[in-house]
Symmetry: C2
Subunit: 645 residues, 2 copies
Amino acid sequence: MEKFKILFKPDNKEIEADRGEILLSCAIGGGIYINSSCGGDGICGRCKVIIEKGSFTTEPTGRITQEERKKGYVLACLTTIHGDLVVKVPPASRLDITKIKEEDAKLLRLKGIYSQAEDTAEVEAISHKEAFSHSPLATKLYLELPPPTLDDKVSDLERLYREIKDKKDIGFMQTGLTNIKRLGAILRQSDWKVTVLLGKRNETTEIVSIEHGDTSGRNYGIAFDIGTTTVVGQLVNLNTDEVLGTKATHNRQIVFGDDVITRIVYATEEDGLEKLHHAVIDNMNEIIKELVAGNKLALTDVNGVLCAGNTTMIHLLLRVDPKFIRMEPYVPTANFVPTIRASEAGIKINPRGLLACVPGVSTYVGGDVVAGVVACGMSEEEDLTVLIDVGTNGEIVIGNKEWLISAAASAGPSFEGSGVSCGMRATNGAIQRVRLQSPEKVVLETIGNARPRGICGSGYIDALAELFTHRILERDGKISTSIKSSRIRQMETGLEFVLAFKDETDIGADIVITEQDVENLKRSKASIYSATAILLDKLNLRFEDVKRFFIAGGFGTYLDIEKAVMIGLLPDLERSRFTFIGNSSLIGAREALLSYEAFKKAEEIATKITYLELSVEPAYMDEYIQALFFPHTDIAKFPSVGALR
Amino acid sequence: MEKFKILFKPDNKEIEADRGEILLSCAIGGGIYINSSCGGDGICGRCKVIIEKGSFTTEPTGRITQEERKKGYVLACLTTIHGDLVVKVPPASRLDITKIKEEDAKLLRLKGIYSQAEDTAEVEAISHKEAFSHSPLATKLYLELPPPTLDDKVSDLERLYREIKDKKDIGFMQTGLTNIKRLGAILRQSDWKVTVLLGKRNETTEIVSIEHGDTSGRNYGIAFDIGTTTVVGQLVNLNTDEVLGTKATHNRQIVFGDDVITRIVYATEEDGLEKLHHAVIDNMNEIIKELVAGNKLALTDVNGVLCAGNTTMIHLLLRVDPKFIRMEPYVPTANFVPTIRASEAGIKINPRGLLACVPGVSTYVGGDVVAGVVACGMSEEEDLTVLIDVGTNGEIVIGNKEWLISAAASAGPSFEGSGVSCGMRATNGAIQRVRLQSPEKVVLETIGNARPRGICGSGYIDALAELFTHRILERDGKISTSIKSSRIRQMETGLEFVLAFKDETDIGADIVITEQDVENLKRSKASIYSATAILLDKLNLRFEDVKRFFIAGGFGTYLDIEKAVMIGLLPDLERSRFTFIGNSSLIGAREALLSYEAFKKAEEIATKITYLELSVEPAYMDEYIQALFFPHTDIAKFPSVGALR
């Protein structure tokens, strides 16, 4: 096919285009940002550009005034390329959220938590589970249509449907007016050889877009875990299911509040909702951009995004006001949200690409938990199984293929590396394993074997367990003064233990664990353990009845189950019952992205899960207070730990 | 519920509004035109208004700049009313198609065919047919939802779905993000008493909009027959199926060409497609406005529009380029088009209301014919039945419940009162019945018993038959010179017969039938008769095998079958086999509007009908030429006529 050169000003970036390609797609594909909020439907009128030179056709539109037309203005989404072009993108059509972005970035830098998205370690696959069938959110299909003849005169659209149905078993298909308007020209220009992008959308199959020639090899998607503290995206090849990369970053909403409730309050302030919405969209667009660039792809090759997040995060992602979540009786506006065009939410991928969300259960049990259940497969198990997702909100699901009951525990962000003095995400330089050979001699292992920069969740669990075993940590969480070590220091705020001295670290400062850190970590682990215990108790079950535990969370690649039991985060059972599965929310989102079967399974699970509000349980506070010890007030509950000390 | 006063400038029109009502809906409801092309989704940013005074809340949007916000700009679709308001609608947000409208109107006046939409006679109901079940395109449902409690904490959206499903047997339901964004507030503001508008859309049920309190009594729809020459709209109460009024007007596209081919050619010129599109949209909006005003309704009470039209008309309505229709092998872009939001096409009703089209069969057999088949019920008949739709394109369908075959005949617009010297639509003052007591003495009957203004289709048929019976008209269509009458006059262009002299008419001129008129009418009738004959012949059938004929067309309320046989438009069979059914396209559109069952039936029919191209039949031209006589070259085919002369 004939190729043309499109020069975009003021970036002076030259992008190659096919004859008949739509200018907006060409721009986005080449990384030129042009506003667009209607998915290239010619409705929003935001993608105005000026064509200074070259051959093109453009559809008439009421969004361009007579005066603008004289100046060469066109809507990029309605303009078809017929030759080399010089295109100017005027300021009004360039990304208009820059201001908010800069403002937030400044605040984030002040808080010291801003960091560029970095590679995080690849999440673990769960091997035991049967795979879902391959049926991704977006599928591409290359078609060589028979041109119409006097004997075969069905309309262009029916011809397309006929050919698709001939190759794929699809029931009802639908197409928007935008595609129909372009169909006649695209079929003839491409000599009846086109690629259709098919999307699963609200129980039907949609022809999302139609592209010239064979582009079926370029079909990618991104799964997102949108956490209160961390946003993680994973690029996958939708044709092959291959995982191509993962990026994580702190949720930029943190600048508006550390937890969900503070953010909901912030959303009620002027422009608050808008800012929170833009913050997470910026996070996602940044991750998408880096994943796409890192794999030498174009943004237009990304045809679907599938998100799992807690209920408030999904509200903010879609710019649905979350305020009713914190008004009695605390109900969200929606747990099941429709699949929309990603551009409707401001996500920059193929302008007609889709955005779907894993459905949630309730205010406190969101799509992230449902995705976790999909990921670990517990809803298919005969045996009683527990999923514990350690996040800023800790969520617990108990059940099997017959029933599923969930609860939430306000664990705080300490295991995600927030709210603790030297905490960091599980990324390069994070201490993830700690061994004490003596109170003086510490052996550390960092992610990427880099010089230490901080401590991630699994590092904290290791450190607490080691300090506890060496009796540096008392059962109540105080640092012992009877042990002699240069690493134990009295500071103004209390005692602290130095894991790495300044000259060993990459940050020009000591990396320490303070008594306040221990207190925060202890509360996190107590809240999760006690919630699990109370939930089982409510069901007249004991820990021993649970055949399998899946532990999920953003700890990094590694979690030492032994150590987690030792600090009392997990119950003292045979270690073989435990499986660490990493970021199960991301895995579940990826499975739903790659398989409509998994997406439907998620809907089934979300409908099936019962939610139990623990805060109204009288026994919960007692259980929690008892768990505020290492490993527990009642050491008899942890025989293997008792034997060690 | 509390009522507020909203003053709109510069119209200085005061409109009453409920607390919590959306400003755009209030404006449209009160007849204030504000641009909007995204259905109130906050995407297009065209409904900018300035609030000068009063209490309101507005959702943040990137479509309003910082500067505009300071000046009081908001998007009307995102603004909720909380008190009396003074609202200014700036010029940019007012109807921007005015220019095109004025231009066209001027041209139309030049051509002398422009007329204000007027009441046309009510179309006939078809009584024999079994009614379709009541299930309109848009349904309203008033709900008093149980507010959430600690024991009943499902999300707002699921609560709404649950309540709807409790009252109605609905499978999969979907809702757009716009409604979800507003849901939390609307439910609480209206004390959990809301009316949902449910729409049938592409195989699923959509929650189209959610309104405060009980508005279930206000649910109207408009069925349209969009003809090449005439556009007719009919207002119906979607709750009761009651027909409230009908308006017809000439299709404004006529200024760009009388027939479909000329218009397709015009569409390829610069802005041609846009102008043709706007012309028909203006027609429709004008009809809607008048029907709504005439019944003291608000535009926002109209929730659905259902259109039947020929294939080119539907392309132009949706602004789909029709150019491929006239390129070999003449295929349309689409025969089945998706149900869209009416505002996407520029139709001014409830901004979230729906627009659906009856599907078509092929380039020459459109949704108007399919609607006709639905209307007459021939697809359910055991007996062989023929439907003849006399329009600018005459269409013939033959078949029964087993099979349906169609053909098209280029009849020309003469039976619609165009292309003939004194032709007019079947409206007030149109001569619809003609009796000659002698060559000198003529008795006329006009629609509305008004002074004659012109001749409509049924008037021409009557006149031709009477002139023929009195031997004033020769069998070849010439006016006889051997009959003496002051009504027969020799003019420069040939002979003519005066039906009404200047002093008897309302137009200050004689109303005449010229030899050229007779020639045009003869060609029309010949084309329809011969197409029917050839189609039967191709199927090895004879006229005698047909048990029932349905005759449709915009003749007005009346068609004298006897006279139609006499001039050779219809075959000479027992008159009891013929039924005149009026505008069957409009009736079918109305049935599809009032019943999803009828809409599905139309889809089934459109799939089932085979199209036969007559122009490639060698016998067609012979048959046509033979039919260019009154009643036919072979008088033996018309024994009852032969007996008269």
